[in-house]
């Protein structure tokens, strides 16, 4: 269990840095969605299924969708 946790923790740090260093917003939204999944897995491993469910629906679906919609509005004319 502890190995799984360690791997997911490292993946979280890597994911966060990847989202921040990604300077193109469209791909950033995708990376953020993936980061949301990593967080969801981490929370599941931390025995927090409620939070994991929320993080996946919010972090991987809703948040990237909102960012893409905003991006279309800002750039797409």
């Amino acid at each position: 269990m502890s190995v799984v946790l360690a791997v997911l923790l490292v993946a979280t740090a890597v994911g966060a840095i990847a989202v921040v260093t990604c300077r193109d917003v469209a791909s950033q939204a995708v990376v953020l969605g993936a980061y949301g999944f990593v967080l969801g897995a981490l929370f599941l491993a931390l025995s927090a299924p409620d939070v994991a469910l929320s993080e996946v629906v919010v972090g991987s679906v809703l948040t990237p969708l909102l960012i893409l919609l905003a991006l279309v509005k800002v750039r797409g004319r």
Binding site: D50, V57, G76
Partner: protein, 246 residues
């Protein structure tokens, strides 16, 4: 500052912040510690006193239900705010939708229909079992709102708009947020405490248990679901504006 100057200032500031965090985090108990006094008391309160199988639900809606009340109004304020901020400004006019949109292939429509049914059942179940298993009003509401947007995939903006009556959704959202306050006030009138959970508690693990917790899950589910649909509608309307004639 120019962005170069800012980077120069940011380096010592970031280092300082790292030092502050390191010093403070050094005092944290070991990861995985067995010492959780509030947590243990909460679990006991959830099970023994309130017959709530999901202790997180008990903390969210019962023991710390006041926090969740404020949280619901953060959501309400945000939805009102987004509607306000993304409303067409003077001089902009709403783009016109195409009268007919191309029908998507039958296979796509069938898949979407099935998926819609699955999400609908799933989100209702997630809301209704919030006091028993992981999930609850918030997660179910988000699921339902996202699921509705499958209509966009299967049909298009017009199909989506037809199943998105904004006046009804506004009423539903407000009823959800107001319902939370009403349940709180019923507790105040009934037993002298705002948000008191004084409904019959039922048997732990059954659908009708935990007193007000499932009710609060339901009102939150309505508020979150309706609120998110309205919120996304504002963004979609903005998108249409951009495409429409100016």
């Amino acid at each position: 500052m120019t962005s170069r100057q800012r980077r120069l200032v940011a380096v010592p500031v970031g280092a300082g912040l790292a030092v502050v965090l390191a010093l403070a985090f050094h005092g944290l108990p070991a990861f995985g510690t067995a010492h959780h006094p509030y947590g243990d008391a909460s679990v006991r309160a959830a099970l023994a006193l309130r017959h709530t199988a999901n202790a997180v639900g008990s903390v969210t809606f019962d023991q710390r239900g006041l926090d969740t009340l404020f949280e619901e109004f953060i959501l309400l304020a945000a939805v009102l705010g987004v509607r306000l901020l993304l409303r067409p400004a003077a001089g902009e006019h709403q783009g016109t939708d195409p009268d007919r949109e191309p029908r998507s292939p039958a296979a796509v429509r069938a898949t979407v229909l099935v998926l819609l049914g699955v999400t609908a059942v799933l989100s209702v179940s997630v809301v209704l079992h919030g006091h028993l298993s992981p999930g609850g009003g918030f997660q179910g509401g988000v699921l339902a709102a996202s699921g509705l947007h499958l209509l966009y995939v299967g049909g298009g903006p017009r199909t989506l708009a037809r199943f998105r009556p904004s006046a009804a959704l506004e009423l539903l959202e407000a009823a959800g947020a107001g319902g939370y306050v009403v349940i709180g006030l019923v507790g105040l009138v009934g037993s002298g405490s705002f948000l008191a959970n004084d409904l019959p508690l039922g048997r732990t693990g059954s659908l009708l248990s935990a007193g007000t917790v499932p009710l609060l899950n339901i009102v939150v589910g309505f508020e979150v679901g309706a609120g998110l649909v309205l919120l996304l509608a504002s963004y979609f309307a903005q998108e249409r504006l951009a495409e429409g004639p100016r």
